[in-house]
Amino acid sequence: MNNTKLFKATLIKGAVAGACGLSTLALAVSAQAETLNIVSWGGAYSMSQQKAYNEPWMEKSGDEIVNIDRSGNALAGLRAQSQAGNVTWDLVDMLPADALIACAEGLIEPLDHDALLADAPDGTPPSEDFIEDSLDECFVPSIVYSNIVAFNTEMFPEDKQPSTIADVFDLENYPGKRTLMRKPINNLEWALVADGVAPEDVYDVLETEEGVARAFAKLDTIKDQVIWWEEGAQPPQLLADQEVAFGSAYNGRIFNAAANEDQPFEIIWDAQVFELDGWVVPTGKLDKVKDYLYFATDTQRLADQAKYISYGPARKSSAKMVTTLAGTDIEMKPHMPTYGPNFATAIPKDNEFWADNNDELTQRFNAWLAQ
């Protein structure tokens, strides 16, 4: 049911109930309890959101939250819904690159961050509390996550465990299948680093035709051994089944499988490609989700989320409050992408580069795969 219909239904209900002398009660109930359709990534990540802010919010407000695992195709979904004139999503968890495009197409609301979001406990306004340059016109970040390659420790002798991204490309010393995401993003960066390019120079090299050719040439060396994944849940599964020795994945999923399910997974932090992830509000939905958004992005909630998944909070004030994994005494800090030793060779994902070159490089990547 869309908003107008809901509104009309409420009015009618109100009128009928009013005739029976119950109008205040009926209106109060319908004003309070709403159903929020929230789109996110599914799996361990949605679980962390559920625990850290959805459940507390449902308890607090009486709203019902429906989780929809469609963030992987969120931009397509938003376009389709807006074309269909029937936007059913109320809030969407999305990558900043997609948010830029959605914002330019008018699919999502521009946000006044300082007016809409909570201040830090010490009164720092959101525009200063969130990580520098992370607030975009239509985007509120909630976490910093990282794309990493992980491996199954049981697949290698104890004295010969891989440790760098170059090892992923070294079939001789580290044999076995690999699983990588079926996209050029991350893979091209890693190929170059494995080929000797310094992490900070990766995008400069990729800007050139020779650089792209070099990255593909490096990927060629392992192509036969790669199983390409498309859903975030696949790599932990393939690693657990020992179908592959290495798998690229989101760091949180690997951490959760290792910590909660005792899987023998280890993360190679070398050349991690990190970026933000956060909320956007589909056009016309701001009033409906304003209160939830304020709640779900405050300092305490973002710190709470880090109890359930190893993604860094996007607020500086939350970062200080990160403690241990819920129900255990595992310190979360050393598992965060932003933790010092993990961060040494990290690559910040260049969204502008990918906004421009994704179409062409994806076609080239697909052509390369089809060869």
Binding site: A104, E105, E352, E360, R364, Q371
Partner: protein
């Protein structure tokens, strides 16, 4: 006239019988048409109009002309030989300002980025700073982004400001416009779709042959057994036919994957070593095996219905005339089954080239079909024009096969179960 000995017959009310008959025929024609018309109207709305809309979308090109109207107009009489003059740049600045205000530059920047990488950030980056711009716009714009100083940028904008485009079709067959406006092949390392089309066709042909090889003997057996037995065995053919496609695909994953039933069995029997499990899925083999299984009933059923009509006495006669069994089969029986082979073959081929679910789930990288790219461009890359163009080409191939099928066999001969 009525006195003439050859006077036409008349009905009781004096109308000639011929006219009356014609009327009756016309009436029943009309009645038949009326009965069919609700369905035709329904299909027109729910099926045919969507197809035409898709064909339309594969050439439709409104993005540039609607989002950059002044620029498109200013470029209309530009000769393309050297960089355009100040008025064109001023028009672009005005368009970008209006677009930034209305927040409608997203689609045009995506559209132009398909044609030339870098256009997205050229447009979006410039739009973000457009209110700082001052005349002369030519230098100001080139300062913000070098792309505005390139001839190729303006040629792309001019070309794509036409309301229709062939770019999507060119892209769908691995072609593109060169900077000079000629149609050229894209570089080798960018070619995807032609390979995929051919792979779809030859793998479908292999699947067709496989279903024929497996289906022919079974159909022969079914057609020649007493009805009591053949009915029972027919269930074995019909049950897979009636079972969900996803279920059948799932079972093949369970059987073929490297930790699956077949590999486990071979390891247990000592045929292969545990470390050397066979890769039977997520490749061409997986697609061919699973699709042969799924499409086999579509081959067996038409073959069976043709074979059922061949009297056994033909073979007996051939044998009694002294023909060796194989010769009799080849010269007498086999030619009679050719209509069945044609029907089953075309049916399996048509269905196979349009399959999406099975190749997507068991095909891995090498076992993908062109249909997977339609889905990819619909859902992931969001290049809907290209998806429509690829789909239109595939639709054309299917319609041609369908017409051949209709000509040879007739769709009204199709039977189910």
């Amino acid at each position: 006239m009525s006195e003439s000995p050859t006077a036409p017959l008349k009905t009781a009310d004096g109308v000639s019988l011929k006219t009356s008959l014609r009327r009756a025929v016309r009436r029943s024609k009309l009645k038949a048409l009326l009965l069919v018309s609700p369905l035709l109207a329904f299909l027109l709305i729910a099926f045919l109009m969507p197809l035409f809309d898709m064909l339309w979308r594969s050439v439709d090109n409104p993005e540039v002309s609607t989002a950059l109207p002044q620029t498109s107009q200013a470029l209309a009489d530009w000769d393309g030989a050297s960089l355009p003059d100040e008025p064109v740049f001023a028009a672009l600045a005005a368009d970008l300002e209006a677009g930034a205000e209305a927040r409608n530059l997203g689609l045009v920047s995506s559209r132009l980025n398909y044609e030339k990488s870098g256009m997205r950030s050229a447009i979006m980056g410039t739009a973000r700073r457009v209110d700082t711009l001052e005349a002369p716009y030519k230098t100001a714009l080139i300062d913000i982004n070098d792309d505005w100083g390139e001839l190729a940028t303006w040629r792309v904008i001019k070309r794509e400001s036409s309301p229709y485009t062939l770019s999507y079709y060119l892209a769908a067959v691995d072609r593109q416009y060169s900077p000079d406006g000629e149609i050229v092949a894209v570089p080798d390392y960018m070619q995807v779709y032609v390979t995929l089309f051919w792979r779809t066709f030859w793998m479908s042909a292999v699947i067709m042959v496989m279903t024929l090889v497996l289906g022919y003997p079974v159909a022969f057996l079914l057609a020649n057994l007493p009805l009591r037995h053949s009915n029972l065995l027919m269930i074995l053919v019909l049950l897979p036919f009636w079972t969900s496609l996803l279920v059948r695909t799932t079972t093949w994953i369970a059987i073929l994957q490297s930790q699956g039933v077949l590999n486990d069995m071979m390891v247990a029997l000592g045929i292969i070593a545990d470390e050397a499990r066979w890769q039977m899925i997520h490749n061409k083999l997986g697609t061919i095996v699973a699709m042969t299984h799924i499409l086999l009933p579509f081959m067996i059923l038409p073959l069976y219905s043709v074979m059922k009509t061949i009297p056994p006495s033909y073979m007996h006669a051939a044998r009694s005339l002294g023909g060796k069994p194989f010769l009799c089969f080849r010269r007498v029986y086999f030619p009679l089954t050719i209509p069945g082979i044609a029907a089953g073959g075309i049916l399996v081929f048509i269905l196979s080239i349009g399959y999406y679910i099975t190749p997507a789930l068991v095909g891995g990288q090498s076992g993908r079909f062109i249909t997977n790219y339609i889905a990819y461009h619909m859902q992931t890359s969001l290049n809907w024009g290209l998806a429509a163009a690829i789909a239109s080409i595939l639709l054309f191939v299917v319609v041609v096969c369908y017409l051949v099928f209709n000509r040879l066999i007739g769709v009204d001969k199709v039977k189910l179960g």
